[in-house]
Symmetry: C2
Subunit: 304 residues, 2 copies
């Protein structure tokens, strides 16, 4: 069975300001962060759309990490742009401007040989499009899906339908409560599990992540960093590390799932250390494994 991952999501040009600096029209988008993070573990096939203004150097960078861009359509018009700002606590982005541009009418087209991919990541796009992707692929081993408050508010029914075909939902803490109309996180997760997914990965920013299944809960901490420059893409980098490791290992044992969540946390912790996708340009597998070890040191205590 193929260990490749198919990712469908956005490719964007981000203008981001944080208390520590700013970047203009830097490479971003959910599919980009996911792919770069996952590319350290396995081979990625990317499906997204860009406009004619998409800089060639960005495509080259992605290809240099072995990412297959045959599914990246370039069509007339401008690339999706997002402009955002973070204040000192860095927990929440304030969106200053969104230009959907070519992303507005995005229809994911899968090259024929993408349809046999074993692992699927549906980044945060319209749940109807997510479902349409799943109708094109043949018996994937694992489908992981992200979403956001916008779809929860505007397309809750479509989201529920998509979730019936999804194995693992990645969602942030506030959205978990919002989607379930339940303040208590354990109850909220249980409600969402009843909609179909086998597991829910709740992202909690600097506080880490919680993974809920019917029978277990796993808690992963955030990595305490002294310097955080730009949180953009942390959630998608988390998903990339998570699914990248799982795909590489092939088998979905509890052991692998827990390690995968830590690898997700590792990739998110690297992502925020620099603006845009800069940190992934120099990152090495040795650094990734060292930080995995640091997560072990951070959380380990002896049983009684």
């Amino acid at each position: 069975m193929s260990k490749d991952i198919l990712v469908v999501g956005s490719v964007a040009l981000d203008t981001v300001k944080t208390p520590f600096g700013e970047v203009e029209e830097a490479l971003g988008g959910s599919a980009v962060y996911f792919s770069l993070a996952a590319s350290f573990f396995t081979k990625i096939k990317l499906v997204a759309v860009v406009g004619e203004d998409f800089p060639d150097r960005h495509a080259k960078l992605l290809e240099s990490r072995g990412i297959d861009l045959r599914g990246l359509e370039k069509i007339p018009g401008k690339t999706f742009r997002w402009k955002g700002e973070y204040s000192y606590n860095l927990n929440e982005a304030k969106t200053l401007e969104t230009q959907l541009n070519v992303f507005e009418n995005f229809q994911p087209h899968l090259p024929e040989d993408y349809k046999n991919t074993g692992f699927i990541f549906l980044a945060n796009i319209d749940p109807q499009l997510q479902k349409r992707v799943l109708e094109q692929v043949k018996k994937p081993s694992l489908v992981v899906c992200d979403t956001m408050n916008y779809w929860i508010e505007n397309k809750p029914e479509q989201l529920r339908k998509t979730l019936k075909k999804v194995d693992i939902l990645v969602i942030n803490e506030a959205e978990t409560r919002q989607f379930s109309s339940e303040v208590n996180l354990v109850k909220a997760a249980r409600k969402i599990l009843s909609l179909g997914p086998r597991a829910i990965l709740v992202k909690r920013g600097e506080y880490g992540a919680l993974c809920f299944t019917k029978n277990s809960i796993f808690s992963a901490p955030g990595y305490p960093l002294e310097f955080v420059y730009d949180p953009t893409g942390a959630g998608d980098s988390f998903a990339g590390g998570f699914l990248g490791y799982l795909a590489k290992m092939g088998n979905l044992s509890e052991r692998n799932i827990r390690r995968a969540i830590i690898f997700g946390s590792v990739m998110a912790s690297f992502d925020v250390e620099d603006f845009s996708i800069q940190r992934f340009k120099t990152l090495t597998l040795t650094e990734i494994e060292q930080r995995f070890g640091a997560f072990k040191d951070l959380t380990h205590f002896e049983s009684l």
Copy 2:
């Protein structure tokens, strides 16, 4: 060396309302929560003050857990009262009323044989009083101290002086940032470490706790509970489980400190399961050890 703990703090009658119910003039106060939690591990000597209206049944309850009340003064006047309310998210108490009463002029008087106690917990009282307690005790093995925003704002210099004599500071996350004037938690903890303490335990409510020393960071999760009725006293119960276990073990190895933080988290997780100190009335050592095991299941992942 004595494994007893001396605690100096408040004994109160709390009126608390949460979305799940309310209690009137229930037993509360920092020294009470701390003592009850710690009493599952070692012997506690309590120093505090109450008024003539303090119900005898409360004293009997504390004594039934082996807590030494010779240091609990009863003086003319009314007992300290606190009235607070929590909204659905349960993260922050809204204080509706504080009647200091006899607590206003509290002067801790240590019975002579208390002065040789090996382990000291200075609950959240005026840092000048905390320092005065330390001037009365003889060579304790470990001094743990709590504080709050009120003292950070109003007596920062006195707090700094007290911290020179303190081994471990227990403080919540917002107060860590406030006291250090530093948003980044790693930098904030480092600043406070430079004031004297060997370790800082940062309480993060439902997100758990972080322990910072000069050379290491340990992250303990909050326990994901389906039912949380009343968060009052969680921080002091955490401190009680933490110092209780350390005192019982006697030796301050990294292994014991990490386990102690988990025992602190265990006791906090029980505290919030019922109003006031109710949960501690029925709690057993077996339940405590089982939940310790549940924390292990919650956080464990295999090294590479």
